[in-house]
Symmetry: C7
Subunit: 86 residues, 7 copies
């Protein structure tokens, strides 16, 4: 069903991009990630998957835009993601 | 099952549109997006996918209709979407 | 499994209708939609899909049955729907 | 896997009924529906589907067993259902 | 994948039972069911399905182990189940 | 997709074990189970399934490490599991 | 659909890694795991699966970076994972 719906959409127009394309273009670049529960992280996007699980390097947890904790690498579970800003 | 149900529905009538058609028509136009947790964003709709993940450009986070934070591009995870107003 | 269960049910009786049939019959008519988080919207039902994503036109957000905000078109994500009253 | 498990179960015994059979038997009869968020509804069960989406007619929202709001028809999203009492 | 994992497990040992086997053995017997939201019900288990939807007969809602409300039959949506004690 | 990903992983290395293997090894042994909502249970692990539904025997609900309630057998729905400690 | 999307992504570039690759590389090494509900655990990563269920050994529950409880082995359900830091 989802497949058909997609076909219909791509039939109507060539979509200029998809959200995962933007993630893909952000590999190796700094991103801001907001998670549920008022958690914010900043770091270099190293990897992601279809669940929006994310790997950040040189990651920092932010609290009111201040660095709260520094991490080397970090896996963030996609489930909790609210927004990602490249 | 879902597939059959859909067939039955489309058999009954030609649906005038689907919610994702409206999203499709809003590509390149300004939209307002309300997320769970009393978060609101405004920006130009650049992309979306079947999970309702959304890419906004020239995005602004709103707080009581006031601009709180400005973002260049923004990926909003569909999971948290409450409403989208084109 | 779900498919078999459905077969069994439809074998037992011809179901008079399904919830999505009622939605289908309400296309073009005014509906009230209650969402999680004490949100209520009123408008003309323009479209829906199997996830219960809904498009309203001439939509109004209600607060204690008073109009709080007016929207032109509105996509409500089915995930948050509690009830729809045609 | 689920299919096999079911087979095993039905192999062990003929299940006297399934929850959806009870719903099926309640079509056209009054039911009480409790939803998450302390919401209760009473009405005549007109339709349901495998997601436990429910259509009630002559529906009433209850507040401490008092009628709070009267609705003609009502679609309740199965997602929020806690209990249904025929 | 799940299927393979199961095979591997059943290859390692014959599992003595599965949770749904215990439910199956409890058909016709009294059970206690705790739901999310601090709700407890007691009754005779009449039916269940793979979603852990449950039918109780001669059901009672408990409040601090006191009977709060009596129901004839009751469908409890599996989604909200925390524990079932036969 | 998940299947391919798994293949890739098992291609990279022979995984020493999987979480469900540890559960499997704990059958017949005492375990501690923490659930969402600050609930803790202790008992002998009798059975589990792929949803992490769990059967405990000689189960005890704990409150601040004190026994609050004793149960014979107990089915805990996997959905609510936070941790299991063998 | 997901499969196609993946193909498209891997067609665009060879992804340097995936989040589960980082988990794989962390087997046998100390990790920090934050769960929903303000729970933190530290231990040696022994195993994981596609649901991000995790087995820790010599695990410690932390409270404000202080050791609160020591566990031998621990299964953490992936559902509740917010972040994993190798």
């Amino acid at each position: 069903m989802i497949f058909l719906e997609l076909n219909k959409m791509t039939g109507n127009q060539t979509p200029p991009s998809r959200p995962f394309d933007l993630l893909n273009d952000s590999i190796g670049k700094p991103v801001l990630v907001m998670l549920k529960g008022a958690l914010s992280f900043r770091g270099t996007l190293k990897a992601f998957d279809v669940h929006m699980n994310i790997v950040l390097e040189e990651a920092e947890e932010l609290d009111n835009n201040q660095v709260k904790t520094k991490y080397g690498k970090l896996i963030l579970r996609g489930d909790n993601v609210i927004l990602i800003s490249p």
